[in-house]
């Protein structure tokens, strides 16, 4: 029944078009100027309060609108304080708007491009503005938000150009699924997936980019981060982890403006681990030129010690050029941009290029009908090199330091390597990985206002990209079976198409009660198809192409994934005099991924806010006190549903096993896939949030505090099952994750005068994600994609403990905790892994200081992370190779405290800490490799100077700004390895992800940028 109703919604909405419009009153006009410099303000929104009728000011700040004497006009502009004026008998209303940078703007974009008054929101939303995004000089918009948004944890996965960044809002709610928010551009969801195992390579070998990297930061006007399900409910089930709402720049009426900006950057590796320089190549203390280990004799004095690890890094150069043109008439506006970004890497043959073209235009067909659209074409090309293992780029952690690794070719021109690993320098030149993405994001919208009280908006958008991936191992590699060369390729096409219809009716009762009701319909179709092929044994050794291998050396496979979601929703807003607000929302989704009988599910939310200061004023209790200038409390409760991954309701059959099991010669139950579950139900997250927003001293100090608690139960969980169930993996409903946290934002303007302002934005957040229940008798959920080299540790969620745990090798102990030693007195490795650390930070925060003096502006961001363990798998590898400083006590003896397992007697045997111990015993206990990943870093520091207008004189340039930025210049941490901002397998790993695993990836960088921006 519900389905039929939803389907009929379409019909009902469009019947409304048949009504005719009614008269609207007299014309009111005026000019809007800035209170600060008395300049005209174009693009200011002027709307009749409680109605959908509105306009924007033109280039000279002028507007004209039809209004009745009883109407109230609302003037709003991003970054300025809102002004309301009753029309009365006036035909001209001039307004001056005051800057409001200190308390963020009063209007934020929430769902579907709808701007909402911030004071009306019953939940926490944080907005990041264009300037704040671009001044970070980050290529990846996800990174541009680092440290700026309370409760949002962003981890870049390393220093390779195009490295993926993980964003998690308020922890995570899913044990095995996606924990990253939905990205929405101008009302249309776009793809921010990160491919894993492209071309069959393991997640840690060639981590892909997160696809939001395709979005040009210069095109962005603002980003709103909707943190909780309450804020996200209107976007439906894909918003369960929050939403990043991106609003792009639009043209404004008036003379066309041309902007040009550029930047030139230099980057270096930020931090490298310390390697021992006392022992040279060899085995068991004796020199051996064939050994990859540094277990030989001591270096003799005067012997050259090579910095092989440093030899793979260089200074990277990056340049960026952006041009945009915008303008328009009162009826039509346009914005066009072109961008070229060419990022070099700190390792040879790594780089990222992004070329983007964007055009958007809006036009008023009539007073009631507005159409608009935008098209964005992006080409992102990335080159990178394998990492995460001995034969990858960081394989230098194995290389003996008496040998110059840079000599990677023999005189005959073939690879010069040691033992079974590729020489990293050879790998950099001969094992290229490339990814070429072509992407189009196109959006069209129709906005129709048949009556004063009614608005109909329809929007259709699509995000389509193809990704051509290629990984080559040239002949001569030591990779088993690929000595004559091999290549893995894949081509992926991915499309998300979304249709959204919104019908909004507004009405004001008794002058004081405003209501607004939106009914909406939303349909989303996403499809991803990947074709992968592999070939080996190049016929011509120099030509890396699938056509260059014989047919029997080729394999090919294809994977298709498709999902459709239809939603219908209602959003009811009630407000009383702009003082008290209540919002009810309900949504029903129908998802293709669930069994037919469980396909439809409903979820509601309710939120409210009360502007206490205005209420007191209204009641006559106060009159706009000088100390407390604004106070608001808010609360919300929301529930959001989530569907299953596509195609997991039935168990698949396969015709292959693995390289150590018989070829089945026919169809067998697919042991490598999840056991299908035809009875899956949707999972739900319930969330509760309360908060307060108070401002003091005429808004010069603002404090916003939020407390929240969410609980996700009956999860759709892809988990491991006991083999005796018949499967290793199965999808099932079960398990519960609770998140609880606090977010505090404080902004201050300690100094504001004509020439000098100083503002401070401070945010701090704490989140604790606890696994409350797991299905069956599981005590943990392990993530195999977050497995580090040597399989010594992996990410796992532990029952009763953290969602972000580390599951690692430990030594065997008895129930009393004593070590159980072997007969010789050495510790033994336990057969099962245990909890050894928690990657979740205790607190995260950021402090942004912005100082402006005349036309100078100086801004810097301190990024703080307190707590959060890191598993240092790089160090673990160094121990095994003998290059770790931990191995300097080699040859010494030790009596391990514990009991001999076979006899039960206390140990008295002295053992030697020799190569065998450091290679087969010591690395297989995790505790010594779990380190505190706390940091304090100067994320960026930027100085800009606007040339005074008089200096530009008669040039066509109306504004010229030059800037210099330093990134990551200071880093304070006790972590012993590389920059602790690490994520071993990149952002593609589901569940709790792979952040907090330092696993032989290209380390993070630091650098500086210089550039200019000018406007014609």
């Amino acid at each position: 029944m519900k389905k039929k109703l939803q389907c009929l919604l379409w019909g009902v909405f469009f019947l409304l078009f048949h009504f005719q419009s009614i008269a609207q009153g007299t014309a009111v006009s005026g000019t809007v100027t800035s209170a600060a410099d008395k300049s005209a303000l174009p693009g200011v929104s002027v709307v009749v309060k409680g109605k959908t009728r509105g306009t924007v000011t033109d280039i000279s700040g002028k507007y004209t609108i039809e209004a009745a004497p009883s109407d109230v006009l609302v003037f709003s502009f991003i970054g300025m304080k809102r002004v309301e004026r009753t029309v009365g008998n006036a035909t001209t209303i001039d307004v001056m708007l005051q800057d409001d940078t200190k308390s963020l703007s009063e209007v934020v974009v929430t769902a579907f491009g709808v701007e909402q008054e911030k004071r009306a929101l019953g939940y926490s939303v944080q907005e990041v503005q264009s300037r704040e995004i671009t001044e970070t000089q980050q290529a990846n918009i996800v990174n541009a938000m680092q440290g700026k948004v309370a409760g949002v944890q962003i981890t870049n996965s390393g220093g390779a150009p195009g490295a993926s960044a993980i964003m998690m809002i308020r922890g995570g709610t899913s044990l095995s699924g996606n924990n990253q928010p939905l990205y929405v551009v101008d009302g249309i969801p776009v793809d921010n997936s990160t491919a894993v195992s492209q071309g069959g390579l393991s997640a840690g070998t060639a981590p892909a980019s997160n696809r939001a990297i395709d979005i040009n930061p210069e095109d962005i006007e603002s980003i709103s981060v909707l943190k909780g399900p309450a804020a996200a409910a209107l976007y439906g089930l894909r918003a369960a982890e929050g939403v990043v709402v991106i609003t792009t720049k639009k043209g404004t009426a008036g003379k066309a403006k041309i902007n040009y900006s550029n930047s030139f950057s230099f980057d270096k590796v930020n931090r490298l681990p310390t390697l021992q320089s006392e022992y040279m190549q060899g085995e068991q203390g004796a020199f051996d030129p064939a050994s990859i280990g540094s277990w030989g004799p001591r270096f003799e004095s005067g012997q050259t010690i090579y910095d092989n690890l440093e030899s793979i890094f260089k200074t990277a150069f990056t340049q960026k050029h952006d041009v945009s043109v915008s303008g328009g008439t009162e009826r039509s506006t346009f914005y066009g941009s072109a961008s070229r970004f060419d990022q070099g890497g700190i390792v040879d043959n790594t780089n990222m290029e992004r070329n983007s073209f964007r055009l958007s235009a809006d036009t008023k067909v009539s007073d009631k009908l507005k159409v608009g659209g935008s098209a964005n074409y992006i080409k992102s090309s990335r080159s990178y090199v394998p990492q995460g293992s001995a034969s990858g780029v960081m394989g230098a952690v194995y290389w003996p330091r008496n040998d110059d690794m840079r000599n990677y070719l023999t005189p005959e021109g073939i690879q010069r390597n040691i033992a079974v690993n590729d020489n990293p320098h050879w790998s950099i030149q001969n094992k290229p990985i490339t990814s070429d993405v072509d992407r189009v994001i196109a959006i069209g919208s129709v906005i129709y206002d048949p009556f004063e009280f009614l608005n109909v908006t329809y929007r259709l958008g699509t995000d389509y990209f193809t990704d051509d991936f290629k990984s080559v191992r040239m002949p001569g590699t030591t990779t088993v079976g690929e000595g004559k060369g091999a290549l893995s390729q894949s081509t992926t096409s991915n499309q998300i198409t979304t249709s959204t219809l919104l019908v909004t009716a507004k009405k004001t009762f008794a002058n004081d009660f405003n209501t607004s009701l939106t009914l909406g319909n939303n349909a989303e179709d996403s499809r991803r198809q990947t074709t992968s092929w592999y070939g080996r044994n190049f016929i011509d050794p120099d030509f890396a192409n699938i056509n260059n291998v014989v047919q029997t050396d080729r394999t090919i496979s294809q994977n298709v994934s498709q999902r459709r979601i239809v939603g219908a929703f209602a959003d009811l807003n009630l407000d009383w005099k702009g003082i008290a607000f209540v919002n009810f929302r309900g949504r029903n989704d129908w998802s293709s991924t669930l069994p037919v009988k469980n396909r439809s599910f409903f979820y509601p939310s309710v939120s409210g806010s009360l502007v206490v200061t205005d209420l007191l004023e209204e009641m006559g209790a106060t009159s706009g006190g000088d100390i407390l200038s604004f106070g608001k409390i808010r609360a919300s409760w929301a529930r959001v549903g989530k569907d299953a991954p596509p195609h997991v309701l039935a168990t698949t059959l396969a015709t292959a096993t693995n390289s150590f099991t018989i070829a089945p010669r026919g169809f067998i139950s697919n042991a490598n896939d999840y056991y299908g579950n035809p009875a899956l139900r949707p999972e739900f997250t319930n969330s509760f949030e309360i908060g307060a927003d108070v401002r003091f001293f005429r808004n010069r100090v603002g404090l916003d505090v939020t407390y929240y608690k969410t609980s996700t139960d009956d999860q759709i969980l892809g988990t491991r099952t006991p083999p005796s169930s018949g499967s290793f993996l199965a999808y099932l409903n079960g398990g519960r994750i609770d998140n609880e946290g606090v977010e505090v934002m404080l902004n201050m303007q300690p100094v504001t005068n004509e020439n000098f302002t100083w503002s401070v934005d401070f945010n701090i957040a704490k989140n604790k994600a606890t696994v409350k229940e797991l299905p069956g008798t599981l005590d943990r959920v392990e993530l195999s994609d977050a497995l580090v080299s040597g399989s010594v540790a992996q990410g796992a969620a532990f029952l009763g403990g953290s969602l972000f745990g580390i599951n690692g090798n430990v030594w065997k102990r008895n129930d009393a905790g004593q070590l159980l030693l072997d007969n010789n007195g050495y510790p033994q490795v336990n057969s099962t892994n245990q909890y050894i650390g928690d990657r979740n930070p205790d607190w995260t925060g950021g402090i942004t200081n912005t100082l402006t003096y005349k036309t100078f502006s100086f801004s810097f961001l301190w990024d703080i992370r307190v707590g959060g363990d890191i598993y240092n798998a790089t160090e673990n590898t160094l121990v095994r190779s003998g290059l770790s400083t931990k191995t300097l006590d080699r040859g010494q003896t030790r009596v391990f405290e514990g009991v001999i397992e076979s006899t039960g007697e206390a140990n008295t045997k002295e053992v030697v800490l020799d190569q065998n111990y450091y290679q087969t015993i010591y690395p297989f206990q995790g505790y010594d490799f779990v380190e505190d990943g706390s940091w304090l870093r100067l994320r960026y520091i930027t100085l800009t100077y606007n040339l005074p207008t008089r200096m530009l004189g008669k040039t066509p340039i109306s504004n010229l700004q030059v800037f210099g930025t330093g990134r990551n210049l200071l880093l304070f941490t006790n972590y012993s390895g590389v920059d602790p901002e690490v994520s071993g397998s990149g952002a593609g790993v589901g569940g709790s992800g792979s952040f907090g695993f330092d696993n032989l990836g290209i380390p993070a960088t630091r650098g500086f940028d210089i550039g200019l921006r000018l406007t014609l």
Binding site: K3, Q6, C7, W10, G11, F14, L15, F17, L369, N559, R563, V566, W590, S591, S592, T593, L594, P646, H647, L649, A650, T652, L653, T657, S659, F660, T661, I662, A663, P664, R665, G666, F667, I668, S669, N670, Y675, G676, A679, R720, T721, P722, P723, S724, S725, G726, S727, F728, A730, L732, P775, G776, T777, R780, D822, N823, S831, T832, E901, S902
Partner: protein
């Protein structure tokens, strides 16, 4: 306005179209990449191959070291763990049976019933019973009742059945299989799409396989007093294989993928360039001795099968084997002599059992006759036992390509050595039967069952049978030669995910505690 109206009409049409197609719009969840259901006749081959090359292979890969068929060369590294009894929860026969293999047997049963093809039900039940049998004989209690049933949801914490219950279930499954093979209303032949790589659709042979397995598992209960019924074993054996050419096996394939080859030849750990790095380097001296000495008297007589199973040493043409646990450095039989690679015929690619295309038999006619011989001997029918014994020995020799002249000479030598008289004594008779079974069941994990039932007795297996050197002393008492390995540790995945059901899974308990059928 006119334009607006036509637009509206367009939208209305679109809306109507959408309303009617709303349901089908969402029906796109069927897996586009792999099938989820195919007919039973296309599933039979996978059930057979995985029962052999996943389940039985992983149940014998290490057990061949325990039963001292073969030995590794190096004294370091992990290959030596099996023959020195260093078993942990990392022993993975469990998952290879439960996940890689048995769902295919269960699916065959379910599909056969659904399609009205009882012969597939029979094949599924026979193979499932065999897998349960191999599992319980290494672990004791296993999951049966709560295992995947092909129709309902999988269970997250399956309960374990006692070994006694498992044995009842195996017998019941085989009875049901026989009944299914007897069902005349079968629509699609077992070999409809060429999937019956064992019997090419010959249902009589399948039925005889089920009977043969009934004989094997009933025969395991020799220590269980009233549960042991020799008459039933003899009946089952006689309904089982009754001629050459019925052995439950299929040839592995050469020239295709590596995993189409026999695992003992290549992908099972035998691809090293230097054979000392292979999982097993050479056969053991214990096996060589069995093939060069007659039981009871230990009279020297070279079994003609030795040249069909093993290769002589390249250095001097002699047959030599290693002592379990000592590696190549330990020399022939642990003597310290003959320590170079060329002093030994290699294990891999050496003879009947370890070539690329060698079959890896589940159960053979020879084994069935030797089971019959044991049952008759225990029932007091020594003469009948000897007749079955003779056929069991000769059947294996014929299979290995031994000439009639050699066979007759060998049998004459046995007679001359007093085999007929030996059969009047149960221990001596069993010594003959078990040593022949050891040879005929080469590499089959069934040998470990026999050795445990015989308490690893030197009276049965001869003076050459000794515990390995460098034994796992964390579990086993170095000074107690009567302490032998009795069972396996449940694998780590079961322990971690189903720990409450599994009981004491310590190595000490699991490796030392005799299974139910091995306790009086």
């Amino acid at each position: 306005m006119k334009i607006t109206y036509s637009k509206i009409k367009l939208f209305l049409v679109a809306t109507l179209l959408f309303s009617t197609s709303c349901e089908s719009y969402l029906d796109i969840n069927e897996d586009p990449n792999l099938p989820t259901i195919v007919p039973a006749h296309t599933r039979l081959v996978g059930a057979i191959t995985t029962t052999n090359g996943a389940s039985m292979w992983r149940g014998s890969r290490e057990v061949a070291g325990i039963t001292q068929y073969a030995s590794t060369a190096l004294t370091t590294g992990s290959n030596r763990n099996a023959e020195t009894w260093r078993f942990t929860a990392s022993y993975f026969f469990w998952q290879n049976a439960y996940v890689f293999t048995m769902p295919n047997c269960v699916d065959l049963i379910v599909l056969g019933e659904k399609e009205g093809n009882p012969h597939f039900v029979g094949a599924g039940k026979t193979l499932l019973a065999l897998n349960y049998g191999m599992l319980t004989d290494q672990y004791g209690a296993i999951v049966v009742d709560d295992y995947y049933d092909g129709t309902s949801q999988i269970k997250l914490t399956p309960k374990f059945n006692t070994q006694e219950e498992v044995y009842q279930k195996i017998d019941q499954l085989l009875d049901e299989a026989i009944e299914a093979f007897n069902n005349p209303n079968n629509k699609v032949s077992l070999n409809f799409s060429g999937g019956d790589i064992m019997y090419q659709g010959n249902v009589d042979k399948w039925r005889r396989l089920a009977w043969s397995l009934k004989a094997r598992y009933a025969n395991h209960l020799s220590k269980k007093g009233s549960l042991y019924n020799s008459a039933k074993i003899i009946e089952a054996a006689q309904n089982g294989f009754n001629a050459d050419g019925m052995d439950a096996e299929f040839a592995y394939m050469a020239g295709a993928q590596q995993t189409d080859e026999n695992p003992w030849y290549s992908w099972g750990g035998f691809t090293s360039v230097d054979p000392v790095n292979d999982r097993y380097f050479a056969w053991t001296q214990f096996f060589v001795d069995l093939l060069q000495n007659l039981p009871v008297t230990e009279t020297d007589y070279q079994d003609p099968r030795i040249s069909r199973i093993m290769n002589p040493a390249p250095s001097d043409g002699q047959y030599r084997g290693l002592r379990s646990g000592l590696g190549l450095a330990g020399g022939q039989g642990g003597s310290g002599k003959f320590t170079s690679v060329s002093d030994y015929g290699l294990f891999k690619n050496s003879g009947y059992y370890t070539k690329a295309t060698s079959p890896f038999p589940f159960i053979t006619y020879s084994e069935v006759k030797l089971i019959e011989a044991e049952a008759k001997l225990r029932s007091g029918d020594a003469a009948g036992a000897l007749v079955a014994f003779e056929e069991g020995v000769k059947a294996n020799m014929r299979k290995l390509g031994v000439t009639s002249a050699e066979i007759n000479a060998y049998w004459a030598a046995l007679l001359a050595d007093g085999v007929a008289a030996h059969f009047s004594n149960q221990t001596r008779g069993l010594s003959h039967i078990m040593r022949q079974k050891y040879i005929t069941q080469c590499l089959n994990p069934e040998t470990w069952v026999d050795m445990r039932r015989m308490d690893f007795s030197q009276e049965i297996y001869g003076p050459s049978l000794k515990r390995p050197e460098n034994i796992n002393t964390v579990v086993f008492n170095a000074n107690d030669p009567s302490q032998w390995i009795q069972g396996m540790v449940y694998e780590t995945n079961e322990q971690n995910r189903n720990g409450e059901q599994i009981g004491d899974n310590s190595e000490r308990y699991r490796l030392l505690t005799p299974l139910w059928w091995n306790r009086p």
